[in-house]
Each structure stands twice: as C-alpha cells, then as structure tokens.
Amino acid sequence: MPAVWLDLGIAAAKTLLVLLMVLNLSAILLWVERKGSALIQDRIGANRANILGGLLPFNLGIVNTLIADPIKMFTKEDVVPAGADKVLHFLGPFLAVFPVVVTFAAIPFGDVLVIGDRTIDLQVAGLNVGILYVLAMSSLAVYGVVLGGWASNSRWALLGAIRGSAQMISYEIAMGLALIGAIMTFGTLDLQEIARAQGAHVLGVIPAWGILYQPLGFLIFLVAGVAETKRVPFDLPEGESELISGYFTEYSGSKQAAFMLSDFAEIVVVSGLATTLFFGGWQVPFLGREGWNLPGGVTLAMPHLAVVALQLVSFTVKVFALCCLQILVRWSLPRYRYDQLMDLGWKRLLPLALVNVLVTGLVIVLAS
C-alpha cells in the first residue's frame, strides 16, 4: 500500500521539520541572548572564535556560540558526583528537554499545503485536544528539574529543584486558567481551528486575533509562561548568585547543555503557543487561501505556494518576536524574592485569571 507509506513519509518529514525548527530556533536564541545581553550591558560579547582566522572585519560570535561551545560541551568528560543516582542523573536532563520539544507537535505552523490531489495539514499532529496535549506535555518538564536536583546529591541542587517544582506548579494553575478564557472565546481545543478562526477581521480592518478578545488572558499567560521557563525575573531555581546553578549545579558537558537548551526550547514553546492563541498563529492579515482580500473589496490572487510560504514566514516571525521580547525581559528586570514570586502567582495572577474567566463568560453571554 504505497499511499500509507507516502502518508507516513509526509508525517515523518513534518515531524523532523518541526523538531529541527524548535532546536535551531533555540540555538539561534542562545546567540541572540549572548549578543543581545552584551548589547544591553554595553559589552562586546562572544567574539573570539572565527572561521577565516580573523580576516573578516566584524565578528558576530556565531562561531563561538553555535559551533565552538557545543563541540566543547560534547567532548567534555561526563562527571557524575559520588553518591549521585546514575540513572536519575541521566534521566533529569532528558526529561527536561524531551517533553518541551515534543510539545510543538500540536502547534500548527501553516494552513494547508495542496500538492496535486493531496492536501497536507501543516501541523505534525492535528489533535482535537491540542491545548490539553500541550499542557500535559509542558507540565511534565517539572520532572526533569526535580530528578536532576534530587539525583545530584548536592544541597544546592536539591534546593534549586524544590524551589523550581514549587514555582512551576504554582504558575501552572494561572497558566491553565488564562487558557480557559481563550477556549471560551474560540469554543475549541484544536489549535489549528483556533488559528483558522483568527483569519476574520473586526470592522473589516482589524485582524480578529485572540489578543483582541483576551488582553488580560494574554498578559497572565505570558507572565506565567516566563515563570515556567524559570528565567529572570523568576530564576530562583537557578539563582546563580545564591544557588551556584540551582538544580544543574552538578552537571557538566552535554547534560548541562541539555538543561540550557531546555530553557530556550521552553521559550520557543511558550512563544509558539502565545502566537497561536493570541496573535493569529500563521495568519497574515488580509491573506486568504487564494490571495489577498484587502479592505474595500479589492482582491489580488496569489500562487498557492507563495501563500503557504508567507504563512510560514509569518508564524516564524511572530514566534521569534515573542522570543526576543522574553530575552529583553530577562535582561531588563532584577530577580524576585521567593515570597514575592509566590505572592504574584497565588495572590495576584490566580484571582485575576478567575476574574478573567468570569468577565469573558459575561461578555460572551451579553454579546449573543
């Protein structure tokens, strides 16, 4: 049955594409963070390694962050401290990255690609419970933190792990509640359908993106999302100045690289989800499947492949912009105190999210 194999091949190609996109975007973010933080702090940043032996008049540090650092980390000795649990010590970084990377399977990165008589949905898994899948997978990442910290048999690591797990589960509630407003607005859990619903226009000119209906929901989601990534201003599980490196103090080499990558992959996933729910996903304003539908009834036809390409670019640009916003936040704000962190999660965001759900319900009932 060749048709089945072709379907499987297409699915495998989409899977590989999405996984590579997440990993590559994470790697690029690492570079953006290093050079961007240097820019913000008026430093030069990574500029040592170069391909052409320093012949180029400029050095953007790409070789440093994307080639030299990974090679160094992969060829380092894998040190497991005495008294550590070897299996859990391996499982920690694995479970920190794996659930984050597979989360992207439910996030659509384009509408449909039509080749001949075949219609390919540009999404790895067209789940009708997409949001539930994303939440289930992203909440598994807490095991990586806990296992990594516990297995190390180090006090710093254990403190970081406990802090991290308490923080992640606290903000998960606010995150879940913020998404409920979006689900009420769109009436579906299918992320592809949510993205399609945002193709309409309010008053004919304003794109009907989710942020228009859920501004508070987006803010709560973004804050909770940044807290889930465990980065400044919520980086207490790592807290370099108090806990060395927190839960990955005892890690070296590629395991430590995995923990670092998981941070950036989480940023990509939070941005991808925020893009899909609040910024129209792959939608380009006024761009339909056949071409442009500009206000005033003007239509411009466009080749199908160009439309798909524009949608892919639109999705990538939106995700990347939200990632950069999070990096900007990380280098602009100081760290919270632990009681402030817990107060923000439980006493501010949670009641606010409940109010958001009620207000959303009231508005929907009044409007219909």
Partner: protein, 120 residues
C-alpha cells in the same frame, strides 16, 4: 480518530532519539579514561568538604504548595469541558460556573487567611 496520534508517536520517537543522543553526547564523545579521585567526585559546596548527606529536611511550606496545587489544578481541569461548550450552555452555564468559582474563591480566601500562602 486515532490517526491524529501518528504524528505524536513519530514526534516521541524522533524526539527521544535526538534528545537521548544529545544528553548522552558527553558519555560517548567525552574523555575516555575517566579518573576518579575523592576530591573530584565531591559535590560542590563552595570549596568546603560536604557536611553530611544532601537529602535532608526542607521547609514544610513546599508540601503545602504541592497540596494546594493538587486542589486548584483539579478544579481548573473541571473548567475545561465547561469552557469548551460554554456557548451552548448560555446563561445557566454561566450561573453554574459563578457558583463553582465562588466555592473555589472561598477556598483560596481560606488558605490565604490561614497563612498557607505566606512565606517567611
């Protein structure tokens, strides 16, 4: 119905290979002759010799957070099916959810009042 999950399975398989390869990279490519001596295998405690095992007692507050999380997260899960069919339920659905959220809010207020959310 189930063919939606083919992509999920493929992602799991490919993701496990990529991530597993990455995490075990240092074991495979790193230094071959590993030398073990006491100081190197020590955990890092700012240069001091580790004083006793690390897995000791920690603040009971973290347990409290975990218990509160179970309570509230289950409540949030109850709200998902409701949110999905909210438009079909209309006003009665909203009134029911107001009662549900009121109960939830009373629980939160109670925990707040009793100091379960306070950190010292």
């Amino acid at each position: 119905m189930l063919d939606q999950y083919v992509g999920v399975l493929l992602t799991f398989a490919l993701g496990a290979v990529i991530v597993g390869g990455m995490v075990s990279g240092s074991m495979l490519l790193g230094m071959r002759r590993r030398q073990h001596y006491a100081v190197k295998d020590e955990v890092f405690e700012c240069g001091n010799a580790p004083s006793g095992p690390a897995r000791g007692r920690f603040s009971v507050h973290f347990y409290l957070v975990a218990i509160l999380f179970i309570v509230f997260d289950v409540e949030v899960v109850f709200m998902y099916p409701w949110a999905l069919v909210f438009r079909a339920l209309g006003v009665p659905g909203l009134i029911e959810m107001v009662i549900f959220i009121a109960v939830l809010a009373i629980g939160l207020a109670y925990a707040w009042r009793r100091g379960a959310l306070a950190w010292y």
